[in-house]
Each structure stands twice: as structure tokens, then as C-alpha cells.
Symmetry: C2
Subunit: 150 residues, 2 copies
DNA sequence: TGGTTTGCTTGACAAAGTGAAACATCCAGG
DNA sequence: CCTGGATGTTTCACTTTGTCAAGCAAACCA
């Protein structure tokens, strides 16, 4: 057990840990500007492109559906989201961002300086290299980006 | 506002978001193996090298000291940590990992496959490049290492 | 000495998260 | 058709994390 990690790998792991901490911190701060918690902001960002069933939100967040109920409740209370019926399946409730919700989501995305600013220290060539390295590190899996959800 | 981000930068940001999500997920999973939550594991890792005042733990976690009280309480209840008096200042309580706590911390660190495995896809040269890019991205700040706080 | 600051804990509270139970709806086999 | 099982959501009870304000003891300062 406890197989030793080589120093270089350990260093990279530490750096990633630092990035993770900073990412969370700045994400929460950006959300707080709009009176949102991190979880609420994440759901709102998920809903910005279009409505989504509660179940699917839970899958994306990797949590139980019962948890999503509360988060959407709070977004709804602030007028940022609403629940709609799914015409195709009456069990399903589609969470959808309101006009104001989409607006907030856009501002939120804009205020993600955590992304622009530190990356500004890198040249375009560097960023390209970084992207390739991260992609390979993640096994070329698509970068959590487009939902591809119906 | 809402200055557009160039597509390359956006791609890198997305990748970082994916890494952050995966990091958290795997960290929590590794902690759960030892009946710990993520926060408890983080504190235990902090205490593994040596005792630390409660106040300092709070600074490292960027949270209120009152929050640390509860987390250390739970570690203490599991026999993984204990509180000691600071001979130099009787107000201070030093949280310290017990023998068992250090042992758990070591196993925890070992089970961080999240670090070794994905990085295994990169050659040593690649890891070196990645390290340098991340360091520059973080403004050459030391990688979350030494506190330097008095 | 006395007043202020510092370190920790307590209490009340909100949000995030889990798990189990309840309920409606859908779907498939007989 | 209709019954039984699977699915989607919510509710409830509960834990953990986290905040903030108040309280208390010890240290510091003048």
C-alpha cells in the first residue's frame, strides 16, 4: 500500500488541488453577487440553454433527485426558474429558467473572471498546449460542455 | 458587459470545470472509504504533518473557526484527532492527529488514484509542461503549500 | 491595574445532501 | 382491458457544512 508518487506528479497534483480550491471559491463568490449559492448557480447554468427534467438535473449534479427539488424550489422563489409540465410524460416536471433567470445566468457566466484572468498569463500557444494536455489527461472525454440532451 | 471569451479560452475553462468536478467527486469517494466526509478528510490531511491551532485550520479552509469546532469534534469522536493545550498560549487549542488518524491520512493519500491514474496518460515531459503551465497560470504562487502565517 | 484584542465554543439558523416512504403516471404481459 | 411493476417527483426526518452573534478565558498594552 501507499505506493510513493514521484515528486513531479505530486507537484502537479498539488497544483490541481490549488486550482480546484480557487475555482470553487471564485465560483461561489460570483454566485453570491447574484444572491445565489454555488449549487443554485450550477443548476441555473444548466437550465439556461433550455428546460430539463428534474431527474436529469440530478444526474448532472450527481446527487439524489430529492435534493434537486429543494434547489429548484429556491430558484423558483427568486423568480429565476419555474416548473413546467412535460406534454410527453405527465410524471415529469421540466425545470426552466425564466427570462430573468437566463439574464442572471448570462451575467454569471460573464463574471467568471476566474477563468479569463489567470489564463491571461498564457499565450495563445500556451493555452492550446494546456487544452491538449488536459484533454489527454481526461481521456479525451468531451469536456462536460454540451448537454446533447433532447 | 459580458465581454465574449474566445473559443479556445472557453474550451480550457470547460476542461478545468470538468477536472474540478471529478476531483471533488473522487476526493469524497476516497474519504467515504474511511467513513469520512470531504471536509473531515481535508482537516485530517492538514493535521497529518503535525498539530495546528484551530484558528489556523479555519484560515486554511477559508471558513469560520466555529465551523472547524464541529469538524474536529467529529474527528475526535472517531478517535482520529485530539485537542491539546498550547503551552505557549493557554487560549489556543492545538488539534492533532492521533496515531490512528495519521494512519488513516496516509491511506487516504495513497488512495488518491484520481491523481495518479489520469496523469498516467501523460509522459514525464508532458507532466513537466503541464506543471509549468499551471504554475504560470496561478501566478507562480507556491502550490497551496506553506502557510507562512505567524 | 483595566480595557481591548484574540482564540475557541456555543447556539440558532440556512443550505446541501442522503435515504425511505408516498403518490401519480407510464408501460408491458396476460 | 387491467393489473403489476417501474419511473419521476415530492415530502419527511436526519446529518454535515457553513454563517453569524454572543459569551468566556486568556493575553496584551498602556
Amino acid at each position: 500500500m501507499t505506493r510513493r508518487m514521484d515528486p513531479l506528479t505530486a507537484e502537479v497534483v498539488d497544483l490541481i488541488g490549488t486550482i480546484v480550491a480557487r475555482y470553487y471559491q471564485e465560483y461561489d463568490a460570483a454566485a453570491a453577487v447574484h444572491r445565489l449559492t454555488g449549487a443554485q448557480a450550477r443548476v441555473l447554468a444548466l437550465l439556461a440553454p433550455g428546460p430539463m427534467p428534474m431527474r436529469q438535473i440530478a444526474q448532472r449534479l450527481k446527487c439524489e433527485p430529492s435534493n434537486v427539488t429543494g434547489i429548484v424550489d429556491r430558484l423558483e422563489a427568486q423568480g429565476l426558474a419555474e416548473r413546467r409540465a412535460d406534454p410527453a410524460d405527465r410524471r415529469v416536471k421540466l425545470a426552466a429558467a425564466t427570462e430573468q433567470g437566463r439574464d442572471t445566468a448570462a451575467h454569471l457566466r460573464a463574471s467568471l473572471d476566474f477563468a479569463r484572468e489567470p489564463l491571461g498569463a498564457l499565450s495563445e500557444q500556451d493555452r492550446r498546449t494546456l487544452r491538449d494536455l488536459l484533454q489527454r489527461m481526461l481521456g479525451d472525454a468531451p469536456a462536460g460542455g454540451s448537454p446533447a440532451s433532447a
